[in-house]
Each structure stands twice: as structure tokens, then as C-alpha cells.
């Protein structure tokens, strides 16, 4: 049913790609063993900055996972036929992204062997409990949807009726996974950078910009590597979604900046100051945050002009800019910026160590590997049906 | 079927690997079939519970103690013989009676293949209190 054997046949380039990814996963795993042996002291985390790259990557990839809804909703709810070919790609990307999220959480835990305590002793008052429910449910849902629709395509039969309500359910569920992840942060009285009602809307906007941007890049890559063409209409519609989501995301960020700096409340200002100007001699994040801003504006300019948005080369640049910009904002600035300055005003420098970065790369590589295998399988079914 | 020899060879190899504990144990002349000798406490003859129960379920007992002390604050145990004990692994069990971890705890654990009870990571014993440079 899962057709994994279809991922075992491929060209030399395919096997070179898969082998290199496996090597990165191996090296990352070895670094993780080091971390298991010595503890999280091998990372750059500290008493003040207790969450870093692992949790920020988790936050970023929940957004990518949620973005599958941007292809599922138009196709299944509004019968937008142009997305017919790529809903499977969105769903498989969601499965991959959620798996990466789970891996990022796992490597961040101090006592990972006790993870099952979350199931043995559920705590409904903790948002983390609901995050576990939401992510597990979303993973299961998308895996089942992808497997069932792909199998139906292979057999060239219509999908079974029972899958339709599951697909419809996955739409609000996708919204909920990223909302619940935002609620992890936005309900904490201790962190004024996160204690804002707009965090959940910000998360969703950035997810719906970065996720479809990645999907566009993947579709264009697939077109280059195989005969699979998502279709010009589909790509352009996705690009429009990225445009609106990017614009809304930038607006939300500017609204935050306004509240912080017009009110001049020190607790609100100081986190933005740390990220964009630097505090107490620590400004190592400043260039990255301004790069994020620059990239987002460049991307918006490229996307807002139809002539440029429809030019494939410029679209690729725009999508890369969106993805990197939001990765810098969510995957670097959000967590560290929320924790610095600390509740006692301490500015502690956080920089990921080599083992920490290698573990992150290992998880990135396992995600790339999953997407490769999944898309290979999906493509083989599509090619058979041609 | 030209695959038959290959399949049979693979099956034999698989069964052989999976049954390793059985034939390896049978071949090992040094492996004892009797329980290892353990050093019993010098003074006390009576444990907090009968020895047979302790042998089979001491981890369940300790788990109950953990929840009762940490979560309910019920720190004292009245044993079946009326004696009152503190539910304290270090100060009751290890300090008053089972002072030799190697000759008592580890003998049975090694024999039974209990892999790494990690209680010792936190709970001290008389031999585990040590001095080291900060």
C-alpha cells in the first residue's frame, strides 16, 4: 500500500542525492549520541536562553506543515481543479514537516526516554499537551489522506467516500496546529515579546507565505528533474497566495513594532532593540534580522508586480527570499528574542555550537530524504497514469 | 524454484540469530543455573516486606514510595510487623541495611540482565557519597 519499493529505483543522480542525505543524517545522529551521553551542555543553550535552534526549527516547520491547507482548501472545498496535481505534494510535505517537528522536539528534551510521560500523565491545562494532540492528529491525518489518494490514483479508481470528511477535517486542523504552537508562547506572562494576541495570526501569515513558497520551489525542481509539471496556473495561483500572505505578515510585524515603540514601554521595546540594534554589547543577531527585513521587502516587490511574479526566474528568487526571510524571523529571531533580555534583565549571547548545528542539519537532511522518497513514489504513480 | 536454497539459507540464519540467547546459554559452561550468592545485611534480618515480595516486586514498592512521598507527603510506612520506617531509599534501605551495592544489588541485577538501573544517578548510597573537585 505504501509503495516504498518505488523509491528504490532511480538514476545515478538520484542515488547520489539519497546517499549524501543519508551521510548527513548519519553524522547528525552521531552528534545526537554525543548529546545523549554528555547532556545538552554540548549545545549553546544556557540558563537564560533555554530554548534555541531546536525549538525555533520546530516552530518554523509547524508553519510549513500547516501550509498544506493552502492547496487542500481551494481544491477540496472550492473545486479549484488546477490544484489537482499538487494536493498530494502538499500533503506529503506536511507529513515530512510534522515528522521533522517531532524530531526537533525529541532532540531538545533533557530526558527523551521519558517522552511517554506525556501520554501516561496528560495535562490538559498545558498547551504542550494540546500541541502533542494536534501534531499527532495532523500527521496521522495527512499520512492516511496521502496514502489513500495515491493508492486510488494508482488503481485509477475514485477515492473512497470516507476519506472526504477526513480531508475536510484536515483544513481547520491545519489552522489549529499552528495556532496551538503560537499559544505555547503567547500565553506566558513571563515573556513580553511573545505575550501578544497577534502572535497566532503572525504565525499563520508567515506559514502561508513560507510553506507555499517552498512548495513552488519543489514543484519547479520536480519539473526540471522529471517530466512532472504542476501546471502554470497552479504555480501562479500559489504565487498569489504567497504574495498576499507575505504582505499580511509584513503588516503584522509593523503593527507589533508600532505598539512597542509608540507606547515606549521598556518591556516591549527591549526585545526589538536586542534583535535590531543590539543590547549590552551583544548585537550578533542584528545583521540577520535586518537581512530578514530586506529579503521580505525584496520578495514583496518581486511578487506584487505581475510581470515579475509570472517570470519563473524572478519567482524562484522571490520564493527563496520569502523562505529565508521567514526562517530568519521565526527560526532565529523569535525564540532567542523572546528570551533575551531575561526576566532579570540579563543579555546572554546564544550561538549554536557545532554539534547542535550538525544535529539540526541531520534533521533537515532526514526531511529532505523523506520528501525525496515521498515525491519519487507520487511521481511514479503519476507517470504510470500518463 | 531456483530461489529455494537462498530462502532456506536465509531462514536458517534468521532463526539462528533470533535463538542466540538459547543456544549461547546452553553452550556457556560457566553460566550458573542457580541464583548468585548475595551479601545479606549484617544486623537486620527483617526487610520492610517479606523477602519473596521484595525479590519479585521491589521496583513496584519503590515506585509506590516515590509517589506517596513526593506527591502525597506520606513519608512513613507501618510494616506488617508494626515497625515504622521512613520511605527513603537512601536513608532506610541503603544506609541501614543494604550498604554494599556491588555485593548485593549488582549481583542479582547482572545475573538477571537488568540493564542499568539508573536510580543511582540521583539516589546516594553510603559508598556513593564522594568528594570531587568542583
Amino acid at each position: 500500500m505504501f509503495m516504498f519499493e518505488r523509491a528504490l529505483t532511480g538514476s545515478r543522480k538520484y542515488w547520489l542525492w539519497v546517499t549524501s542525505l543519508l551521510l548527513v543524517v548519519l553524522v547528525g545522529s552521531w552528534c545526537y549520541v554525543l548529546q545523549l551521553m554528555h547532556g545538552l551542555a554540548v549545545t549553546g543553550l544556557s540558563r537564560d536562553v533555554t530554548w534555541g535552534l531546536y525549538i525555533s526549527q520546530f516552530t518554523f516547520f509547524v508553519g510549513v506543515a500547516a501550509s498544506a491547507v493552502m492547496v487542500v482548501l481551494p481544491y477540496y472545498l472550492h473545486d479549484y481543479q488546477q490544484f489537482g496535481r499538487i494536493t498530494i505534494l502538499g500533503e506529503l510535505l506536511a507529513v515530512t514537516a510534522v515528522t521533522m517537528c517531532i524530531l526537533f522536539i525529541l532532540v531538545d528534551l533533557g530526558q527523551p526516554s521519558r517522552l511517554f510521560n506525556m501520554v501516561l500523565h496528560p495535562q490538559p491545562q498545558s498547551v504542550m499537551f494540546w500541541d502533542m494532540i494536534a501534531l499527532a492528529g495532523y500527521l496521522l491525518m495527512n499520512a492516511v489522506i496521502a496514502a489513500v489518494t495515491l493508492t486510488a490514483q494508482r488503481e485509477q479508481v475514485p477515492v473512497p467516500g470516507w476519506i472526504k470528511p477526513v480531508i475536510i477535517l484536515s483544513i481547520p486542523w491545519a489552522i489549529s496546529i499552528h495556532t496551538v504552537t503560537a499559544f505555547l508562547y503567547s500565553g506566558l506572562p513571563s515573556r513580553s515579546y511573545w505575550l501578544t494576541a497577534i502572535l497566532a495570526p503572525r504565525f499563520l501569515a508567515s506559514a502561508f507565505a513560507s510553506g507555499p513558497a517552498l512548495l513552488i520551489l519543489l514543484c519547479l525542481a520536480l519539473r526540471k528533474l522529471s517530466g512532472f509539471d504542476a501546471g502554470r496556473e497552479a504555480i501562479q495561483k500559489l504565487a498569489i497566495i504567497v504574495t498576499y500572505a507575505s504582505a499580511i505578515n509584513i503588516f503584522f510585524i509593523l503593527a507589533e513594532v508600532f505598539t512597542a515603540f509608540y507606547s515606549e514601554i521598556p518591556a516591549l521595546e527591549e526585545h526589538f532593540k536586542y534583535l535590531f540594534i543590539g543590547l549590552n554589547g551583544d548585537y550578533h543577531l542584528v545583521p540577520w534580522m535586518w537581512l530578514s527585513v530586506l529579503l521580505s521587502w525584496v520578495a514583496l516587490a518581486l511578487l506584487m508586480v505581475p510581470k515579475w511574479r509570472n517570470n519563473i526566474r524572478l519567482l524562484v528568487v522571490a520564493c527563496l527570499c520569502v523562505f529565508v526571510s521567514i526562517w530568519l524571523d521565526k527560526g532565529l529571531g523569535l525564540i532567542v528574542g523572546g528570551l533575551v533580555p531575561s526576566p532579570l534583565g540579563a543579555v546572554t549571547r546564544y550561538a549554536p555550537t557545532l554539534p547542535e548545528s550538525t544535529i539540526v542539519l541531520g534533521i533537515w537532511a532526514s526531511g529532505a530524504l523523506m520528501v525525496t522518497i515521498f515525491y519519487k513514489i507520487a511521481l511514479s504513480v503519476w507517470e504510470e497514469n500518463r | 524454484m531456483s530461489d529455494r536454497p537462498l530462502i532456506l539459507a536465509g531462514l536458517t540464519l534468521f532463526v539462528g540469530v533470533v535463538a542466540t540467547p538459547i543456544w549461547h546459554g546452553a553452550l556457556d559452561r560457566k553460566a550458573a543455573l542457580t541464583a548468585p550468592p548475595i551479601k545479606l545485611p549484617a544486623r537486620e534480618k527483617q526487610c520492610v516486606a517479606p523477602a519473596s515480595y521484595m525479590r519479585s516486586s521491589h521496583m513496584q514498592l519503590l515506585g509506590n514510595w516515590r509517589d506517596e512521598v513526593v506527591r502525597d507527603g506520606r513519608r512513613q510506612l507501618v510494616a506488617s510487623n508494626g515497625k515504622i520506617y521512613d520511605k527513603d531509599l537512601t536513608r532506610t534501605c541503603l544506609t541501614q541495611c543494604h550498604t554494599d551495592r556491588k555485593e548485593f544489588c549488582e549481583r542479582c541485577h547482572d545475573y538477571a540482565g537488568v540493564s542499568n538501573p539508573d536510580c543511582w544517578d540521583c539516589h546516594n548510597g553510603p559508598q556513593l557519597a564522594f568528594r570531587s573537585t568542583p
Partner: protein
């Protein structure tokens, strides 16, 4: 007499319900008729004037950390501390102005866990490894903690520390009467609950030569802490957050 399967099932179901119902009624009745427990709320009042009588004094810190096997790491990033001192302007930043900094900006303030009445750390813990006890002590079950550090993110007071590595090599002398912790779990001041269970006061309170820390039951009107709070003006850390700390400061 032959009874149908449907009747049999209906009969058994009703019988089970009756048994369960009787049990439930009994349990509720027992709860209701149990004698109401006298509420205890352990609290602390720290007299900062008395505390700064001796310059650089850290008797309470040493007492706490040695009693509880708190590791001492040289690397500030990995430090573990249950009780420590910070300059006034870090602890009460909103009470600080350019004109007052000169006088009391750098005066030391003794910090530990506030043992809040409504602790955010309890709300966020996904496995119930940390919770507020009936007597007000916010405690940690080190067997349960998965080391996710969500409680550390949630604490508005920076009271919690994480064991980034095995703590034992960094403990000079192990106190055999208290466990050490393992790498990968969070720890903090526990109001010396193991001493309270034996009727003793917390180590920091007992070790202070200036008697700067008052400790007692906030619910008892005649306790030492209540008497102090009736006689002096006391402040708390960030009370506007609604956490309800049990630690007061006499400035």
C-alpha cells in the same frame, strides 16, 4: 424460565450501574464528611536591610546549596542556583529611575523561587512534574521531568535552573541525606520541604546570622511572617502578573 439475551444484558448493565452508583455516592459522602484540613501556606519575608548588613555575605546560599547538593559550575551559562543575589535594579526594574539608581540601584536582593499561589510553571508542565502542593510549596518530581524546559520559559522570575550535564562532578561534598539530580532535569528552591516535614525551618532561614529571613504559615494570623507583614511595608516581585508570590521583601 427462559430469559432472552437482550434481557440478560439489560439486567447486568443495570446491576453494574447500581454498584458503581453506590460506590460513587459513598466516595462523595466520605469526601464531604472528612474533617476539613487546616490550610497552610508557607511564606517568607526577606528583610533586605538586615540582609545587607554584612557586605558580601552568602551564608544562606552556601547552606542551601550544600544541603541540597546543588552543583557549582564555573561556566555561567550552565550555572545551577536555587538562591542567589542580584542588584536591586535587575529585580525591580520598574522601581528604578536615574535619580534613585545611585543610592539603591546596586543594593543586593536575595532571590529564590517565589512559590506562587498560581504558578505559571505548573500550568505549562506537560507531565505534571511540577505542581503547587496544598501547603503552598511548588515542588518538582525529578523522576517525572522530561527536561523540556517549558517551566523555565514560563517562570517570570528566572527561578529555575536546568542540569545541562551530569551535576555530580561539580558537587564538592555530597550531602548523603539528600539526592543529587541527574542531567536533563530542571531544579529550583523547594522551600526545604524535606526539612519542613521534620519540623525544621529552611536552611537559608536557619543559617542567617542577621535573622533577615522570616518564614512561616501565611494563613495563621499569629505567625512570624504575618506579624512582620503587619508592621512593615512589603513589596513583591511583579505582582501585576497575577502569580501570587509567597515571598515578600522589606525594602
Amino acid at each position: 424460565m427462559k430469559i432472552t439475551r437482550k434481557d440478560f444484558l439489560r439486567f447486568s448493565g443495570l446491576a453494574l450501574l447500581a454498584v458503581a452508583g453506590r460506590r460513587a455516592v459513598r466516595a462523595v459522602g466520605e469526601r464531604a464528611s472528612a474533617p476539613p484540613a487546616k490550610p497552610v501556606r508557607w511564606g517568607m519575608v526577606i528583610d533586605l536591610q538586615k540582609c545587607r548588613q554584612k557586605d558580601g555575605c552568602d551564608r544562606c546560599i552556601k547552606a542551601c546549596h550544600s544541603t541540597h547538593n546543588v552543583p557549582q559550575f564555573a561556566d555561567r551559562a550552565h550555572e545551577v542556583k536555587w538562591i542567589w543575589k542580584e542588584p536591586f535594579q535587575n529585580v525591580f526594574p520598574a522601581a528604578q529611575t536615574d535619580y534613585t539608581r545611585e543610592f539603591y540601584g546596586n543594593l543586593p536582593v536575595l532571590l529564590a523561587c517565589n512559590h506562587c499561589d498560581d504558578p505559571p510553571c505548573q500550568d505549562v508542565c506537560p507531565v505534571d512534574a511540577t505542581w503547587r502542593r496544598e501547603d503552598g510549596v511548588v515542588t518538582i518530581d525529578w523522576h517525572r521531568c522530561i527536561g523540556c524546559r517549558y517551566c523555565m520559559a514560563a517562570c517570570p522570575y528566572g527561578a529555575r535552573s536546568f542540569n545541562w550535564q551530569d551535576p555530580r562532578p561539580a558537587i564538592a561534598t555530597v550531602n548523603p541525606d539528600f539526592p543529587t539530580r541527574t542531567k536533563g532535569v530542571v531544579e529550583k528552591c523547594n522551600f526545604c520541604e524535606e526539612r519542613l516535614a521534620k519540623g525544621l525551618g529552611p536552611a537559608c532561614v536557619e543559617s542567617c546570622e542577621e535573622k533577615a529571613i522570616a518564614f512561616g504559615d501565611l494563613e495563621r494570623p499569629d505567625s512570624e511572617v504575618r506579624q512582620v507583614l503587619r508592621s512593615r511595608f512589603a513589596v513583591q516581585r511583579q505582582p501585576e502578573l497575577g502569580t501570587g508570590p509567597s515571598v515578600y521583601y522589606l525594602v
